[in-house]
């Protein structure tokens, strides 16, 4: 066990897997010599060689395509897209190719690629360094979508993703890289060192893809969320004194409907939360499915706590980011409905 922040935990996952499996490769823009702009692949080129961890030209489509070709030939590529805002040049390769290779070849070719990419706001990155584009990927059959909320989960899930026979888009909430974050403007940085989930084994371990984590038990309502907002939801429960049960999805596709439904059937009230723009965000899928599966248990409409239907603004970041106050407002509404 070591204290690790999320970057170190992810780096440790890569290190374990590159050590264990000589076919695991890591590449991306600035991911080689320099070790990535967020340093997740730091030290790997030196340790494993130029052909195991290397820089890529700035062409996200080509990065994904190269990974597909390598994976089809038996390697295990872990490609980094520098910011998830920049994944869209590679979107066609993901939608039309990566996701469908197994299907359209009836299983004779597969491309178990992992695409790691930092996402989400809260770092004053403006519209092109703050997006939470996960919902787009949840609408692509054949793709798994994972987003951890802490170092321990990050490592276990990244290893599981690399070991998965199917492609995974692995979102890293960059606001959490260096510490848990539950606030808004002016919130000082806390360290992962003090957080129980900052205790991370140095050795290989996995967390199952598709399994959510009930991070807070409660009876008043269920809050289903993932990534940065897990911490905000926890803070909101704390600050409001509302006894919410909080589910950290960890995996968006396939999401853990069993855990969710069990909780909502118990509490009778539900909030789904995402940092992304509201319309057609992943919260919509959750709300749609929860109302279908738990309709007769629901005592109030499911509320969505979300970013707004605007690009991510720079100066007004903290009016955009769904902080504890927005959570608490919604929690009250759900209780009072």
């Amino acid at each position: 066990m070591s204290k690790m922040n999320m970057i170190q935990a992810l780096n440790s996952a890569m290190d374990n897997m590159m050590e264990r499996d000589a076919n695991v490769l890591a590449f991306g823009e600035d991911a080689g010599y320099f070790g990535g702009v967020f340093r997740v692949t730091a030290g790997l080129q030196e340790k494993y060689g130029l052909d195991r961890c290397f820089d890529a030209p700035i062409n996200e489509a080509a990065i994904v395509a190269m990974a597909i070709g390598m994976a089809a030939n038996g390697l295990k590529p872990v490609a980094e897209i520098q910011f998830s805002d920049y994944i869209f040049p590679g979107f066609d390769q993901i939608v039309s190719e990566l996701s469908r290779l197994r299907y359209r070849t009836a299983g004779t070719f597969t491309a178990p690629v992992v695409i790691r990419t930092p996402s989400g706001g809260g770092i004053r990155g403006g519209q092109t360094h703050s997006m939470s584009p996960e919902a787009f990927f949840t609408h692509i059959p054949g793709i798994q979508v994972v987003m951890p909320s802490n170092p321990y989960d990050a490592k276990g899930l990244l290893i599981a993703a690399i070991e998965s026979p199917d492609p995974v888009i692995f979102f890293e909430p960059k606001r959490l890289y260096n510490g848990p974050f539950d606030g808004g403007a002016g919130k000082a940085l806390e360290a992962w060192g003090k957080h129980p989930k900052g205790e991370v084994p140095e050795d290989h371990y996995t967390l199952p893809i598709g399994k959510a984590d009930v991070v807070r038990e409660g009876s008043a309502m269920t809050i289903v969320t993932y990534g940065t907002l897990v911490h905000v939801a926890l803070a909101a429960a704390e600050q409001s004194g509302i006894d919410a049960e909080i589910i950290d999805l960890r995996t968006l596709i396939p999401y853990d409907i069993e855990t969710i439904a069990a909780s909502v059937n118990k509490t009778g009230r539900c909030i789904v939360a995402q940092e992304a723009p509201r319309t057609s965000g992943f919260g919509a899928e959750l709300a749609a499915q929860i109302q279908e599966d738990c309709f007769f248990a629901l005592e109030a409409p499911i509320k969505r706590v979300t970013g707004w239907d605007t690009p991510y603004p720079h100066a007004h970041e903290w009016s955009y980011f769904p902080g504890p106050k927005r959570f608490i407002n919604a929690m009250r509404e759900v209780l009072e409905a």
């Binding site: 490769l25 052909d51 030209p57 062409n59 489509a61 080509a62 395509a65 190269m66 990974a67 597909i68 070709g69 390598m70 089809a72 030939n73 038996g74 390697l75 590529p77 040049p89 066609d92 390769q93 039309s96 190719e97 290779l101 197994r102 299907y103 359209r104 070849t105 009836a106 299983g107 004779t108 070719f109 597969t110 059959p141 054949g142 798994q144 026979p165 199917d166 598709g210 396939p254 409907i257 069993e258």
Partner: protein
């Protein structure tokens, strides 16, 4: 209303329906004049080859010049057979499509040499990433015709379980990658695959094919950047058959003289070759394969050819190009040219050719009869309907399990 002078430049072909086919603007250098450098040449030194046209068979159907691969007649007869089979098969399948036996079909008429000669010049285990007009590779690699047909009519023996449009073959056993319906996406994938070959210490290389029109896609650039940067053992083929559905090649070429020239900008060895010349395609592919295997990196090959029939069964070219263009094509027909070369060598004759055509036509007809015993798209049997939910993931998750149950299968 219409401005007669467009206010910006929009390229247009020399002739349109109603006009007389005219290729007089195309310069065809004589066969045998292109030099054949050592495979270790720097890519940047191949400018003349990117602007020229590697040709082996001259207008007397004789093989001339440095690029003559000096093939045994036996090999050429095999090539001829694959090309004739490709053509006969295409013809029959198109007819069957018209009879409603399959939803769609795409012929490769006029371009058979591009696929067949390349496949024969490669090792059988070199992974190919074709587009939808290189079915010739399958014949050259000996794929079972009944299997091919079962795919095209989406029946119970379709190896793709009815999931793909006809012609979009996959044949893993034959190192034939899945054909995507999306243009150019596989060009950069082929580079990644090739890098993995090197990584694994395999001597295999990869080859991919796209069309003139497809070269305009961003993935074209991605593929060439990757190939250039990582010096990957891949052959990147641009099949310039003059047309992209209704759009002439000039819409993708713009002001550039050849498609092969693009490769020069990436420092890649680049050749423009006579795509209707079996021997030129064979020789160029061999050269590029040798270069790749020796670690000198990728080659871009533009095969200059002509799409002699419609784009697909959904297309009617009389709406956009003059009738008879294929006959006017100055580089002739690849089957005729190889046939005449063999005849000139005394290694073939018209009777044997007619017999070959007949034999292959009968083979195709018999194969189709057999294929139909496994069902047709229209009347079934198809792959069992529950297979629709398989292979999305290695294991279906709860969503697919529920959905399958919802459908009641």
């Amino acid at each position: 209303m219409a401005h007669t002078d467009p206010r910006f430049h929009v390229p247009a072909p020399h002739v349109r329906p109603g006009d007389t086919p005219d290729f007089s603007h195309i310069e065809i250098p004589p066969a045998g004049t292109a030099r054949r450098p050592d495979v270790s040449i720097a890519g940047s030194e191949t400018l003349d080859l990117a602007l020229g046209l590697v040709r082996v068979l001259d207008h007397n159907h004789q093989a001339v010049g440095e690029w003559d691969p000096k093939l045994e007649p036996e090999i050429m007869r095999e090539g001829l057979r694959h090309m004739v089979l490709t053509r006969v098969y295409d013809e029959r399948m198109q007819k069957l499509q018209r009879q409603g036996k399959m939803s769609f079909y795409m012929k490769s008429m006029g371009e058979e040499a591009v696929a067949v000669a390349a496949a024969m010049a490669l090792e059988k285990t070199d992974m190919v990433f074709p587009s939808y007009r290189q079915q010739g590779i399958l014949f050259a690699r000996g794929r079972d015709i009944v299997d091919m047909m079962c795919h095209c009519i989406s029946n119970s023996r379709d190896n793709l379980k009815g999931r793909q449009l006809p012609v979009h073959y996959t044949w893993a056993e034959g190192d034939f990658f899945s054909i995507s319906g999306n243009l150019t996406t596989q060009f950069p994938q082929a580079v990644g695959y090739a890098m993995a070959c090197q990584f694994k210490g395999e001597s295999r290389i990869t080859a991919s094919w796209i069309g003139d029109g497809s070269s305009a896609e961003g993935d074209f650039h991605g593929a060439l950047v990757l190939a250039s940067t990582y010096r990957a053992p891949v052959i990147l083929n641009i099949v310039n058959n003059q047309w992209a559905i209704s759009t002439f090649q000039g819409m993708a070429a713009g002001a550039s003289e050849t498609f092969a020239l693009k490769g020069i900008g990436y420092g890649l060895a680049s050749l423009r070759i006579d795509g209707n010349d079996f021997l030129a395609v064979y020789a160029a592919t061999k050269w590029a394969a040798e270069r790749a295997r020796a670690g000198h990196g990728a080659t871009v090959i533009e095969s200059y050819t002509y799409r002699a029939d419609a784009h697909s069964t959904s297309d009617d070219p009389s709406g956009y190009r003059p009738k008879g263009e294929a006959d006017a094509w100055p580089l002739g027909d690849p089957v005729e040219r190889l046939k005449n070369h063999l005849i000139g060598l005394g290694e073939w004759d018209e009777e044997r050719h007619a017999a070959l055509e007949k034999e292959l036509d009968q083979l195709v007809i018999a194969s189709y009869k057999e294929a139909e015993t496994f069902g047709t798209l229209h009347d079934g049997p198809l792959s069992p309907v529950q297979t629709m939910f398989e292979d999305v993931y290695a294991e279906p998750d709860w969503r697919l399990r529920r959905q399958r149950r919802d459908l009641g299968v």
